[in-house]
Amino acid sequence: MTNDGEKMKKALCAVISLLSVLTILVFWYMISWKNPELMPTPVETLKQMFEMIVNPTGVSLFEHVAASFTRVFIAYFSATLAGVLIGVAFGWSEIFRDFVHPIFELLRPIPPIAWIPIIVIWFGIGEVSKIAIVFIGAFVPIVVNTYSGMMQMDPIYEKAGKVIGANRKEMLLEIVIPASFPHILAGMKTALSQSWACVIAAEMIVAQKGLGYLIVRSMESGNMGNILISIFFISGISALLSYLFNKLEAIICPW
């Protein structure tokens, strides 16, 4: 009730948060003690990571990160471009929507991962197939969000555009697209985390490089430490990407 009471509660919450981190560590230690040869302790894992960074053997950790990153980068940007274009076409052209949207809806429920085998048959196991898989993963949410953003636009913007004299092209470029921009950005955000998840999946199934490959190879050799290090990097990069995206969103979408 009093201010002091509120402060106490806040402090208690902070302590509890710390406790929860402790729980994870205790849990981790327990697994390590039970299976010492399988699961390294947190401290051992940190040491191993340090070792990997300082004295890399074979393909270094950063080469794996760079490989995954490049694939995401290429696929994500081409998917954004194509996805926004198709999404806008769905929202703007009734004819295009009527003819093509059913095909999109037909293919949409197939998860990007399920495309992996056929894509490998089509494009082999090189870079193209990984980029294609990430592309599918990023393309779908961007199209869906762009399209629904245009459909959900407040009709008052269209009316206002009409009375102040916008022609059809101006209406699209100056009014409808900017009005759906927040939705497009939301789609791009989903697509970014999807891309990252897809690249890991694709690399786990077919690759010679990349964080996903590192995980699978470590699984085959039973090296849990390496798996944990890769996961640490995967989630760290994922969190970093969404943090950067939020910053960027605040800059380019200030309204």
Binding site: K162, V163, A166, E174
Partner: protein
């Protein structure tokens, strides 16, 4: 710039489809809008005034009837509309919002910036050129919207309950402001409201819509000189008369 004369609203009817049930909203509406007059359309909520205005603005199609001007169909470029919900584009600054109609007309960048500044000055919003709509109050937003409508430099302005969402204080000052602007640069104005006081304060002429489906029930000429005083005897008398004739008859008949 073409100068348009009187406008004829002829035999306008409109109905909507609600789950297969046809609902008539407007039935056989006929009236004239004189050049440079301040015409107020008054009616209760949901009576179809906004639908009628959207038909005049060519945003909606009527089922039958037409809007004529000097013997031809009224053209979109001769009119502009101000909405109750402001309808400013949130992704553009106030200045850019006001520039939009001129941009669509193909006015050069420097020219339209200069003009837009003038219009913002007209609505007393100097210094807010680079603010975004979310940063300013409701009354200020509506001023920007009015400046934007003026920036289209057309002869007819339509107002769809523009001050309906504002508090009473702001509303009074906006009404005063609007009359001042209108007197400094005369245009044909059609203004929708459901507030009798506002109607009497602003109008040269009031047309009252009522019934279901709506049709024109009464018409009043207001000849009180401007600036008007809301507590003036003449003002109150007219207000009372409208209240008795329009509102009460509507309640009795409805």
């Amino acid at each position: 710039m073409s100068v348009v004369g009187d406008i004829c609203v002829r035999n306008i009817s409109k109905s909507f489809n609600n789950n297969g049930k046809k609902i008539e909203v407007l039935k056989d509406i006929n009236f004239e809008i004189h050049k440079n007059e301040f015409l107020v359309l008054f009616g209760p909520g949901q009576c179809g005034k906004s639908v009628l205005m959207e038909i005049i603005a060519n945003i909606s199609e009527p089922d039958s009837g037409e809007i004529m001007c000097d013997g031809k169909k009224l053209r979109e470029e001769d009119l502009c509309m101000v909405f109750q919900r402001y309808a400013l584009f949130p992704w553009k600054t106030c200045l850019k919002n006001v520039e939009m109609p001129m941009k669509f007309k193909g006015v050069s960048k420097e020219k339209r910036e200069e003009k837009a500044k003038e219009y913002l000055k007209l609505v007393e919003l100097e210094g807010f050129e680079n603010s975004y709509p979310r940063q300013i109050s409701g009354g200020m937003k509506q001023r920007v919207a009015i400046a934007r409508a003026y920036a289209k430099e057309c002869d007819i302005l339509l107002f769809d309950e523009p001050f309906g969402a504002l508090d009473a204080q702001t509303r009074y000052s906006m009404e005063k402001e609007l009359i001042k602007i209108w007197q400094s640069e005369k245009k044909t104005v059609v203004f929708i409201t459901n507030n009798i006081e506002e109607a009497v304060y602003l109008a040269d002429r009031i047309i009252i819509l009522g019934g279901s489906p709506s049709s024109i029930t009464e018409e009043f000429k207001i000849e009180i000189p401007r600036p008007r005083n809301r507590s003036d005897q003449a003002f109150l008398a007219i207000r009372k008369e409208i209240e008795n004739r329009a509102v009460h008859s509507d309640i009795v008949s409805g």
